[in-house]
């Protein structure tokens, strides 16, 4: 996969946008202790990356957008950035893999990529916390159940409805992100059709 300068600049624009939103809104959500802030940030970030994919339908462009966003995340002030950086990279990689499976960034592909990318945030602590903070899987599981229990007003002992509920909310948010990306990306493509900003060879994979 080789990108020309115009494609690299396009990816840099969308990656920077994702990165700036992560730094600004992500930090604000963190300070305000907004519930599910990581999930919301993943949905917003993926909607930007997927918009970029529709605008620049090249294999690998979504992942590279995530790489740029995660590098920008390094510039977050006063917060831990390693876990969010891994999160951004993983979300972008999963979205990229789903889009690759569908071959073309069609509407179902974009919705699935958003859904799977955001769903990953549910698993993210199980991967990063043991490595970065030495936390045990069982304790991370308890944290997940507590979070779901508070969110849905359930007892943390009823694990199945909590897990299904959390997975459902994550999937819906991800699909919403894909839906927004499809709408905005399509509008951008129409707006810039024929412009020098658009690739001549659309859907080149």
């Amino acid at each position: 996969m080789k990108f020309n300068t115009r494609e690299l600049v396009t990816m840099a624009v969308f990656g920077s946008l994702w990165g700036v939103v992560e730094i600004g809104l992500g930090s604000l959500f963190h300070v305000l202790d907004i519930p599910m802030s990581g999930t919301l940030m993943a949905a917003i970030g993926l909607s930007i990356a997927l918009t970029g994919r529709i605008f620049l339908p090249r294999k690998g462009s979504t992942f590279f957008t995530g790489v740029i966003a995660s590098i920008l995340k390094l510039f977050s002030i006063g917060s831990v950035v390693i876990a969010p950086m891994i999160g951004i990279l993983s979300e972008a990689l999963i979205a990229e893999l789903v889009l690759t499976l569908f071959r073309r960034p069609t509407r179902p592909a974009v919705l699935a990529a958003g859904g799977m990318g955001v769903l990953y945030t549910l698993l993210h602590p199980f991967i990063t916390n043991p490595i970065l903070y030495g936390r045990g899987i069982f304790v991370i599981w308890l944290d997940l159940l507590d979070r779901g229990a508070r969110l849905f007003g359930l007892d943390s002992g009823v694990w199945l409805p909590i897990v299904l509920g959390l997975a459902g909310v994550h999937l819906i948010l991800g699909i919403l992100a894909g839906w927004i990306a499809w709408g905005v990306g399509s509008a951008l493509r129409t707006r810039f059709a024929g412009s020098h900003l658009m690739m001549q060879n659309s859907y080149k994979q």
């Binding site: 045990g136 304790v139 944290d143 507590d146 508070r150 849905f152 943390s156 909310v169 839906w179």
Partner: protein, 154 residues
């Protein structure tokens, strides 16, 4: 325009659904109503402690964010309540507003993991409540304030 309105409505409903709801059937008091009793429970065992009860146990000190707290080691408290610290799988600290933090056995059994009831300079602040967890060097969310319950998972 219609599409955007529908989208915003869906987002608003989802965000509303994501708002923090108190656990159903929870007996924990509302935030602000400082509970002066700490319950330690797990399985069939349950014991409640007042500040005076904790003061009767061996005192320990730990520092967090430049404040030195006085309290009892969590492992000592668990032993006093009838639990074997070597047999626990996890410990959950519950705040008065339902917030929770879970600890691995290694963390719960650390000598400087304490349940504080005072600072070296005097009592705890109103924000801390009657009891709070103090885990030096750990992230803020593990240092639960307004502590009302400790659950032992065996």
């Amino acid at each position: 325009m219609k599409k955007i309105s529908t989208l915003l409505l869906v987002i608003a409903v989802l965000l509303g659904a994501c708002s923090q709801a108190p656990p159903e059937g929870s007996s924990v008091p509302e935030s602000g109503a400082a509970a002066s009793v700490l319950t330690v429970k797990g399985g069939d065992l349950e014991k409640t402690y007042s500040v005076e009860d904790l003061q009767a146990l061996e005192a320990a000190q730990a520092e967090f964010k430049g404040v030195t707290y006085t309290g009892v080691q969590l492992s000592s408290l668990l032993r006093d309540a009838g639990f074997d610290p070597a047999q626990i799988q996890a410990v959950k600290a519950v705040a008065s507003d339902g917030f929770t933090a879970n600890y691995e056995p290694e963390l719960a059994n650390k000598a400087d993991t304490i349940v504080a009831y005072a600072t070296v300079d005097g009592g705890l602040t109103a924000e801390d409540g009657a009891f709070r967890m103090v885990l030096p060097g750990q992230e803020g969310r593990l240092n639960v304030r307004q502590l009302v319950e400790i659950q032992v998972i065996q």
